[in-house]
């Protein structure tokens, strides 16, 4: 041991430890950090990979799905031999191979109004990479109510978006008070999505998480980053907390979690309306 690090840790994290304003103190912050990933799919794959590699101490992973062959062109945490395996199990195996320093907490379930608060309370920050609107609004509302930052992202065809919602600095509802009507936006199954796009956007999410843990730089708070892979263009759109936001506005109407399937106009099991995966 050398100042609390094993020789293996010093070697593993050496390129990170020597970074300006990281050092051993930063590495310790990472090793002590607790990050919850909502979704272990296209976005969750690069997020989990980079956060595990960086030595984030605890990764909670929520996903109720099993690995399907059609996932593999973008969900790089999972491999052909994992088909049929619950994604949380496949993710935990992959992370253990990347970095045994990381503790993975598996949540093989769908987040709901009933279970989400008990789960997110144990984490410092939430990374939202789900594939459906009910979960996106649920995570948004729960993070606001629990005072947790939420690194939000979505991908669709060749385009992606990413931002960080920090309580009282604007939320998903400040930008989109409600989701599009069911059926208006085709899902990835119908519309398609570029696999490497998930890598770009998920990697940005992981950068934001690491910046948050280390207290480095300027977070992507109040700024929605839009990416167009075909034009290879990024645009940054500023947004503010909306005073009439139903969640974080002056006179909120949402003071506790609601029925998100109903809010999004979908019935349980028929919620594949999302632009993101």
């Amino acid at each position: 041991m050398f100042l609390g690090f094993t020789d293996e840790q010093i070697r593993r994290y050496s390129r990170q430890i020597v970074l300006p304003n990281v050092g051993g103190k930063g590495q310790r912050k990472l090793l002590e950090a607790k990050v919850l990933l909502v979704g272990a799919g296209g976005l969750g794959s690069p997020v989990a990979t980079y956060l595990a590699a960086a030595g984030v101490g605890r990764l909670g992973i929520c996903d109720s799905d099993s690995v399907d062959l059609s996932n593999l062109h973008r969900q790089i945490l999972h491999h052909t031999h994992n088909i049929g395996t619950p994604k949380v199990v496949s993710a935990a195996e992959a992370i253990a191979d990347i970095n045994p320093d990381v503790e993975v907490v598996q949540y093989p379930l769908r987040l709901t109004s009933e279970n989400i608060m008990d789960i997110i309370i144990d984490y410092d920050i939430v990374v939202e990479g789900s594939d459906n609107f009910p979960t996106k609004y649920l995570v948004n509302d729960a993070c606001f109510l629990a005072g947790k930052p939420n690194v939000h992202a979505g991908i669709f065809r060749f385009e992606g978006q990413v931002t960080v919602f920090k309580p009282d600095k604007g939320c998903l509802r400040c930008i989109w008070p409600a989701p599009p009507p069911p059926g208006m936006v085709p899902n990835c199954q119908e519309a398609g999505v570029l696999g490497a796009l998930a890598g770009v956007i998920g990697s940005i999410q992981s950068v934001e998480v690491i910046k948050f843990i280390l207290g480095l730089g300027e977070p992507l708070v109040g700024k929605l980053l839009l990416f167009d892979a075909l034009k290879m263009e990024f645009h940054r759109v500023m947004f503010e907390q909306r005073s009439n936001c139903a969640l974080c506005g002056i006179n909120p109407t949402i003071k506790e979690l609601i029925d998100y399937e109903r809010f999004c106009g979908v019935s349980s099991g028929n919620n594949q309306i999302s632009p993101s995966y």
């Binding site: 050398f2 100042l3 690090f5 010093i10 070697r11 050496s14 020597v18 050092g23 051993g24 103190k25």
Partner: protein
């Protein structure tokens, strides 16, 4: 004789200087001599002096250069016996 077989008692004749902490990095190579020096400085107060003992020749150049880049002051680089060097650094910068 291999560097890491040099007996501890050979570290001697180091010019007396007000050293707050000393670390023995004999047997360690670049860049870990630098990284361990940096980690040690991080735990020290500004103005305190660290002496690092190395026996890996490239570190004799690399450690002072890299620590200078980190805005620390190199007070002395001294060969203390056939195999070992003492690099004395004053912590000047926050992490």
């Amino acid at each position: 004789m291999r560097p890491n077989e040099v007996p501890q008692e050979n570290i001697e004749n180091v010019e007396l200087m007000n050293v707050d902490k000393e670390i023995n990095l004999k047997g360690e190579v670049c860049p870990y001599t630098f990284i361990k020096s940096l980690l040690t400085l991080e735990e020290m107060e500004i103005g305190q002096v660290l002496r690092v003992i190395v026996d890996y020749l490239p570190s004799v150049e690399n450690v002072p250069r890299s620590l200078k880049n980190e805005r620390h002051e190199i007070l002395e680089v001294l060969q203390i016996n056939d195999t070992d060097w003492a690099i004395t650094i004053r912590k000047l910068a926050w992490d």
